[in-house]
């Protein structure tokens, strides 16, 4: 019998080291990198928050959501709606409200979707996300297909996200907080129960757990955290459009989590950075003959994901782990 992953959650030394080195690199990066790259890394950190929030569902609870971008995009819209045309919105009010809005919508949608399992869960999460997508896409009052500009980025007191460096470090702190929170959650009674639900939901019920409540709480939390990422995305790009809620955004998050390795939050974090790095690599590929390899980056990305699933079913983190075990 292939050894089942008893402690998917315990991070091997090598991964811990990688994370510490990564953190040092992230803190120092703006001093070394150009403005362009600082913005690129900000974007990576935002997507890392998004991917980690999905891992709470996908990796920890075992609920694969194909509509997670809905909560991501929604918070961006909340920021856009609350931003005055000629001044920055207040972070202290808009950030909690945006996160709360996403969590609330996740709670309502979750109330219906967490009753379903497996393929049905995938389908209904996607269906709800598509409904939200078209709600915004087809309504001029909600910005329509063009989306909405956020003319001035949010700020509070001395902290102005208009400043790229401030935004960078603000995002870094948010990412670290989300990582810390989810790692704590993983080992809490709540997290242990979610883990049990993934492994054997029926047994958790027999033991006395109302698994529905657990799954709904996880869904709501994940929605709220995705909202945090979406808010930061809106603050960085100064622009929100329905694509943020779209199918591609949701699918990218799933790929990030798979690429990095599911169920321990660190994998999702690494996966998000890895995904974005590969994406840039593939987009920069040269033309060969008449074939623009960079333009067809999705081809290479697809091949990469297939490769990862075949040779490292537990993602990039799993590679580190198995290397370790072979030693």
């Amino acid at each position: 019998m292939s050894a089942p992953q008893a402690h998917l959650e315990t991070l091997p030394r090598s991964v811990q080291l990688l994370l510490v080195l990564g953190l040092i690199a992230l803190v120092a990066f703006p001093f070394a990198g150009q403005d362009f790259y600082t913005q690129m890394v900000t974007r990576m950190m935002i997507l890392a928050i998004f991917a980690m929030s999905l891992d709470l569902l996908q990796g920890i609870t075992g609920l694969v959501s194909l509509g997670h971008a809905a909560y991501f995009g929604l918070a961006g819209y909340v920021l856009a709606f609350m931003s005055p045309a000629d001044a920055g919105a207040n972070i202290l009010t808009t950030l909690p409200l945006a996160v709360l809005a996403s969590a609330l919508v996740a709670l309502v949608i979750g109330f219906f979707v967490v009753r379903t399992q497996g393929i049905y869960f995938i389908m209904v999460t996607m269906a709800f996300a598509q409904m939200l997508y078209y709600l915004f896409f087809d309504n001029k009052g909600l910005g329509g297909s063009d989306g909405i500009y956020i003319n001035v980025r949010p700020a509070v007191l001395g902290m102005d996200l208009e400043n790229k460096l401030v935004l960078y470090y603000f995002t870094l702190v948010c990412m670290l907080l989300v990582y810390w929170f989810l790692r704590r959650l993983l080992w809490s009674p709540f997290g242990r129960t979610l883990n049990g639900i993934r492994l054997n939901e029926h047994r958790t019920q027999a033991l006395g757990y109302a698994s529905f409540n657990y799954k709904l709480t996880a869904f709501t939390l994940a929605g709220g955290l995705a909202g945090l990422a979406g808010y930061l995305w809106g603050a960085q790009t100064g622009y929100v459009n329905p694509e943020l809620m779209g199918f591609h955004m949701s699918a990218h998050a799933i790929m990030m989590v798979i690429l990095g390795g599911m169920g321990n939050v660190a994998g999702a974090l690494i996966g998000a950075f890895g995904f974005e790095l590969f994406l840039h690599l593939f987009k920069d590929l040269p033309k060969v003959g008449g074939f623009d390899m960079g333009k067809h980056w999705q081809l290479w990305m697809g091949a990469l994901i297939v490769l990862v699933v075949i040779i490292a079913p537990q993602g990039l983190m799993g590679l580190l782990r198995s290397r370790k075990q072979d030693d």
């Binding site: 008893a6 009674p189 242990r192 049990g196 492994l199 757990y209």
Partner: protein, 254 residues
């Protein structure tokens, strides 16, 4: 009658045209093992499902410790003191024995995890939960395999773990669906001793095919055939019941 820990009245379950359980009534008392026997397909497991809330009964009523619990879902019955094990081993396979027991023991604070403050606590550092898990582990004699993954345990030990997880939830009523299924003679002997020890603190329903174990443990025997109870009584009376012999035990037993 009023001191029955679990009482079922007229339970029936219909699957389409099949009446799997037909008007079954029974009462479980503390310090008593109530065994249910019958040929395959008699409805024993379905009856257990009805008692534990795994399945909703088509008709009939259920009382747990004097409280009407008819139609309650699975997890609420469990919280109310009803524990059950499954015919097919049903544990968290990748987890270690200890983690299985901790998850079971933690279920008694099933509402605590929704307190956001608890999200910052560690599940493995709750002394009350650890104590419950420890007790169950000792009772079931699993200390030696504490840190082994459940997946690599022998079938017999997995069955013991199955029971231990139920014990970690500290139930009053035990519904045990074929705890001896697939066990070797030595393993079965250990299990019978364990059940014997549990008897005095629990009301126990035992569905079992191993007749040696049944007659060693049971205080009351119910025989089911085709969803219907054909006889209930003390083991000796059942053994001598001609109808039961014809239906189930075979001619030679007398």
């Amino acid at each position: 009658m009023t001191d029955a820990l679990l009482m079922a009245q007229g339970l029936s379950k219909r699957f389409g045209g099949l009446l799997a359980v037909n008007d079954v009534s029974l009462s479980l008392f503390k310090d008593q093992v109530h065994a249910v026997i019958g040929p395959n397909g008699a409805g024993k497991t379905t009856l257990t499902h009805l008692l534990s809330g795994d399945l909703a009964a088509s008709s009939g009523e259920l009382w747990l410790n004097g409280e009407s619990v008819t139609g309650w879902p699975h997890h609420r019955l469990s919280l109310q003191g009803l524990g059950r094990s499954y015919q097919k081993t049903n544990v968290f396979l990748p987890l270690t024995v200890w983690d299985n027991l901790m998850l079971a023991a933690q279920a008694r604070d099933a509402h605590a995890p929704f307190n956001p403050l608890s999200w910052f606590t560690r599940a493995d550092r709750n002394p009350e939960v650890s104590a419950r898990a420890e007790r169950a582990m000792t009772l079931a004699g699993l200390a030696a395999v504490r840190d082994k993954s459940a997946a690599i345990l022998s079938h017999g030990i997995q069955r013991q773990l199955e029971i231990a997880m139920v014990l970690a939830t500290e139930p009053m009523v035990l519904l045990l669906d074929e705890p001896l299924a697939g066990m070797g003679a030595a393993e079965a002997e250990t299990m019978v001793q364990l059940l014997q020890a549990l008897k005095k603190d629990h009301a126990m329903l035992l569905v079992e095919h191993d007749m040696d174990a049944v007659f060693a443990l049971a205080d009351v025997l119910t025989v089911m055939v085709n969803g219907t109870v054909i006889a209930t009584g003390p083991p000796q009376a059942i053994r001598e019941d001609a109808q039961v012999q014809a239906a189930y035990l075979g001619e030679a037993t007398a």
